[in-house]
Amino acid sequence: MTPSAIILIVLGLAAIGYVLGRQRALKTAQREGVKLHSLSGYHGQSVALFIAVPALFLLAAWLFLQPVLIESSVSGRIPQSAIPEGGARSLVMFDVRRIAEGLNQIVAGGDVSENDLADMRADVTDVRARLAEVGVALGSDVSPIVLQTAKEYRATDLTASFVRNIAVLVVALGFGAWALARIRPGLRARNISETFIKALLMGSSLVAILTTVGIVGSLLFESISFFNMYPAKEFFLSTTWNPQFRGGSELGILPLLWGTLYVSFVALALAVPLGLMIAIYLAEYAGSRLRSYAKPAIEVLAGIPTIVYGLFALITVGPFLRDWIAQPLGLGSSSSSVMTAGLVMGIMLIPFISSLSDDIINSVPQAMRDGSYGLGATKSETIKQVILPAALPGIVGAFLLAASRAIGETMIVVMGAGASAQLDLNPFEAMTTITVKIVSQLTGDTEFASPETLVAFALGLTLFVFTLGLNILALYIVRKYREQYE
């Protein structure tokens, strides 16, 4: 039985539980001649919740843990001799899983029975061809040991799944029967449902939090193993970024950090003034008709995928800057440059700044404007001296959010700024950023457990700390601003 079938069964049981709970509540109330504390629907609901929630929770946990546990127990049974020279145990396990899956399909196909399968031997049957028939293509012939392990894997998996199904059903029925049995007219089913729903909602937010913790944890873990192989002082202070295949790499973060900050600076230098002026125009000068068209039109910019911006940088902006500005001025001959990526990213950031600032300017109370106009101030004096100072903290918040977005941006930089890590002041030189190097280090051909690959995690952690800091600062400022008019 597949997990989805089990889920359907549990949900079906919950529906039945609802009906039974309702009826039982009504019946007991009638028999004892007392008024129900809660509406009968709440009794039904609490029974249904007791059937569905623990059972489904168990199922989820089981589905998550089962492969991990089976994997570790089966993988230990593969003898060292079965692992090819230079290969890894995990690669063999990968084959094992695929073969086990293939065997499942063969049995499901119906022409091989479980008994035949047990007799199947790698040196007699052409397992590889047999598996290919059901759509599982293997790179090499199957060795007897691997086939044997695959069979064990499959058997353990089947047993475990069977136990799982039973356990889930027992939990569903057990909790259901208990919830049904305790129904009395005085039972506070309404409050029970309430508590249950609160727990459910809390659980949902817990998922998000745990995911964040998990991501940070894995970043931290891999970063630590990187710093065990590579000195932290070198990483943070060296000005050279030069990864080598055969070790002896120089992995200084400074050129990457410089590139990141330089590109972000160019982007913000374009986006902030433009975005702010757009916001002021939209909020203070534009009529409501124009505003209702212009604002969504500008926000479309935010909906364009960054890869499209990247194309735009690569095909149009880069060559244009090279041919018309960099080469005539003798500043360089590369079409990938900090300027290219920065300008295109700036355009991407305009809607962030303009939209957020527009909302913030609009939330400055009309009384402030009236007060200023009533003293004989013009519109631009009012904006400059009253509205912008009042909106400033919020605008700073918008600015910081845009900054953290700029620092984390990857696609535009890959296509616009190039991949050469250098410390240079010339904005028409190709440079690169932390995000680009994370991609190239992880997608390279080097071994995973080498500093050349693991450096990606250290880079990611640095970036994370950076943007997290900016976001916290932005939130703090925005929150402080909100209190001002209350």
């Binding site: 009384a367 007060g371 009533g374 003293l375 004989g376 001002q484």
Partner: protein, 268 residues
């Protein structure tokens, strides 16, 4: 004419030379809807004129016409004529920014800018270039705060934010801010409706003192307030001017039944 008859005439109409502002056939439209119907009302120099009437009667609308604050509302249209010292303020030649410097306004809810107390008062003189030096500006700030009867309370904290003051103090700060540009007329739109009785008493006292230097028009919902602070009162109802005249007479012996009912609290 006998002396008594002359006095009667003075009682009911303002002398031509004492008219500061005059509204002639003023009508206001918000889009299709007419909010004010042919109002004729004069405002006397160096006196307090109270505009009373039930909510939505058009008294605030009329007030906002006097310094063209209605211009900030897109759909609002004003017809008729309003003069300030004989000059039509809706004439295209008039600079609305300059007009508002001459006819200042204090709003219903205290609205100090999120700046320091000093900066709040200095705002008007700065944008109009009324001073040449810091010392002069300091002087204007101090004298405005003194005139608004708040100097003693804030003199040691001039550089703290104006939003940190109490409601009554904020409103007096807003009055100081309006005085600082030395307007000729000050319009007040229910200046005490957000204040407690003690703060209200202080602001009322202040209004009475300001009468010596300024012409004041005040919108109020409080009959007692109108009776206490104003010399002349105008009663609005459903966008029309019902009755206007000397406050004392209006409160003791109103001409229309409507005014009498409103003043005695029988409706509104």
């Amino acid at each position: 004419m006998t002396e008594a008859a002359t006095e009667m005439a003075v009682d009911t109409a303002i002398k031509e030379s004492a008219i500061k502002m005059r509204g002639t056939d003023v009508s206001v439209f918000y889009g299709e809807k007419q909010a004010l119907f042919d109002v004729n009302l004069d405002v006397a120099r160096n006196s307090v004129t109270a505009l009373i009437g039930p909510s939505g009667c058009g008294k605030s609308t009329f007030l906002r016409c006097l310094n063209r604050m209605n211009d900030t509302i897109d759909i609002c249209r004003v017809t008729g004529e309003i003069t300030l010292e004989g000059e039509n303020i809706y004439d295209p030649k008039i600079d609305v920014v300059e007009l508002r410097a001459r006819v200042g306004m204090v709003f219903q809810k205290p609205n100090p800018f999120p700046k320091s107390i000093y900066e709040n008062v200095a705002y008007g003189p700065r944008i109009h270039g009324l001073t040449n030096s810091r010392a002069e500006l300091d002087e204007i700030v101090e004298s405005s705060l003194r005139k608004a009867a708040i100097w003693e309370e804030v003199k040691d904290r001039l550089h703290e934010p104006g939003t940190g003051l109490s409601g009554g103090q904020q409103q007096r700060l807003c009055i100081a801010r309006a005085i600082a540009v030395s307007p000729e007329v000050i319009l007040m739109d229910e200046p005490c409706s957000a204040l407690d009785p003690i703060a209200t008493a202080k602001v009322e006292e202040l209004i009475d003192e300001l009468r010596g230097n300024f012409t004041i028009v005040i919108v109020t919902h409080s009959m007692q307030q109108a009776a206490r602070v104003s010399q002349r009162t105008a009663m609005f109802h459903l966008g029309k001017l019902v009755e206007e005249g000397v406050t004392d007479k209006m409160f003791t012996n109103p001409e229309t039944k409507l005014t009498q009912d409103y003043i005695t609290g029988r409706f509104g």
